[in-house]
């Protein structure tokens, strides 16, 4: 019953591998940039706060698919030569996800008691040290469930990179479907693979939540 899948399995899994790679790059970049975006959003320095807030509001009010689309078509005009779909998709995702992770982390930073920050300062730690060893670790741990949820969303959203011709999982499935004409079987396979991987992630996420209730 999965004959069309079996016949094209290496091509399809090759696409899945691109999806996984895109997800990993998007998350690594999005979370790293998001840590800074979140710090910018709680900054008391106006020249930090306002530009960062503008960036967050701008990107969060544009559909992801348009961010991917625009970046791919505008970059060649700026840099003077066309960009490969993969790096273009990675950068678009980082720009987009950083705003969401940034907002999650802003909430996390704000949940850290000011007293714990003061305790750091009162032992002589600098702003950077206090942020690095106290603020960020506590916020990340506390926000872990939301971060995992957002990561799962990112993973699912990578399909949108098909608009710029990136041969990821869904796009390759479409290509195979055009030849084999077995839509239900092929897209059923895609759905099952996403279902299983996302479910496992959410189970992991829930375990962290339970742990959090126990600890802090």
């Amino acid at each position: 019953m999965f004959d069309a899948v079996a016949k094209n399995i290496s091509y399809l899994l090759g696409g899945y591998w691109i999806t996984v790679k895109l997800t990993l790059f998007a998350l690594a970049g999005g979370i790293s940039l998001g840590i800074l975006v979140g710090l910018g959003r709680i900054s008391k320095k106006k020249w930090v706060y306002y530009p960062v807030t503008f960036y967050v509001n701008l990107i969060r009010n544009i559909p992801l698919i348009l961010v991917i689309f625009w970046f791919y078509f505008v970059m060649p005009i700026i840099v003077g030569r066309p960009m490969d779909p993969f790096p273009s998709a990675v950068i678009s995702f980082i720009i987009f996800e950083a705003t969401y992770f940034g907002e999650i982390l802003r909430a996390g930073y704000q949940s850290v008691s000011k007293g714990q920050i003061d305790a750091g300062y009162s032992t002589g730690l600098t702003y950077v040290q206090t942020t690095r060893y106290i603020l960020i670790p506590i916020a990340l741990r506390r926000m872990l469930p939301s971060m995992i949820t957002q990561s799962i969303v990112t993973y699912q959203d990578t399909c949108l990179a098909f608009v710029i011709g990136l041969p990821e999982f869904v796009r390759r499935t479409t290509i195979v479907d055009n030849i084999e004409v077995r839509s239900i079987q092929l897209f059923g396979f895609v759905a099952i693979l996403f279902l299983i991987t996302c479910y496992i992630s959410s189970v992991v996420s829930r375990r962290f939540e339970v742990k959090r209730e126990r600890g802090y």
């Binding site: 714990q116 009162s122 032992t123 002589g124 600890g215």
Partner: protein, 241 residues
């Protein structure tokens, strides 16, 4: 050791500190008491530069806190602070809470920092809790870890901001015992507290604050016996029962 001259501070239009003058000599223990909102905590936070102030001067160990050229981070290594709500770092064990600053600020090796931390945990009476997380410690134990954390930087001054107010009665004594021990050991201390038993035993001076002003001061016993200000008398009657 600490000199406070004409210190005033406002939050907007509201004056929190009004012309505070005080001198604390090395090895002295000064107890600050007064109703809530009288500016006690703010006073402590001005001394280690956690709060800026608009008028006056605070000089700690010869260094002016408000001077722009003063490195506040360096100054704070000399002034330990213990908070009402302990404020331990929840993601670190007791040992890690204590060793963080010595390792990052003083660049001590992990081994040296941990040896010193164990010595301090011994001193506050809970060496067996070295690897416990704050969530698994009682309030009294957390506060003792917090005191050890301050001591790890080997400060010249220790400030306590209502260190026993968030504790259950049976835990207050274990924390006070550590503080009495420190005071008798010659540490310079400023303690915001309403534990008058503690004040009687170790305070070289007791200050009573109200509405941002020091309205009464006395050397230990005289303060309790015959307060001059009716406001002080009223307050003492309430807390001494």
């Amino acid at each position: 050791m600490i000199e406070i001259r004409d210190l005033s501070k406002w939050y907007g239009d509201f004056q929190v500190l009004d012309n505070i003058n005080e001198e604390i000599k090395e090895g002295q223990t000064v107890v600050v008491c007064g109703p809530s909102g009288s500016g006690k905590s703010t006073l402590l936070r001005c001394i280690n530069g956690l709060e800026p102030f608009q008028k006056g001067e605070v000089i700690v160990d010869g260094v002016s806190v408000s001077d722009r050229s003063t490195n506040l981070y360096k100054l704070r290594t000399e002034i330990g602070m213990v908070f009402q709500r302990f404020e331990l770092y929840p993601h670190m064990t007791a040992l890690q809470n204590i060793t963080l600053a010595p390792m990052k600020v003083r660049n001590k090796s992990k081994k040296d920092a941990e040896a010193k931390a164990m010595e301090l945990l011994q001193r506050v009476g809970i060496p067996e809790k070295a690897h416990a997380y704050p969530a698994n410690l009682s309030g009294g134990q957390q506060q003792r870890v917090a005191i050890a954390r301050s001591l790890a930087m080997e400060p010249k001054i220790l400030m306590f901001d209502e260190p026993t107010s968030a504790l259950d009665p049976e835990m207050i004594k274990e924390v006070l015992d550590v503080m009495i021990d420190l005071s008798k050991g010659g540490m310079t201390m400023i303690v915001v507290t309403h534990e008058m038993g503690f004040a009687r035993e170790v305070a070289d001076e007791v200050i009573f604050m109200d509405e941002g002003r020091i309205i009464e001061r006395g050397t230990d016993v005289s303060f309790f016996k015959n307060p001059k200000n009716p406001r002080t008398k009223d307050f003492l009657d309430k807390i001494l029962l």
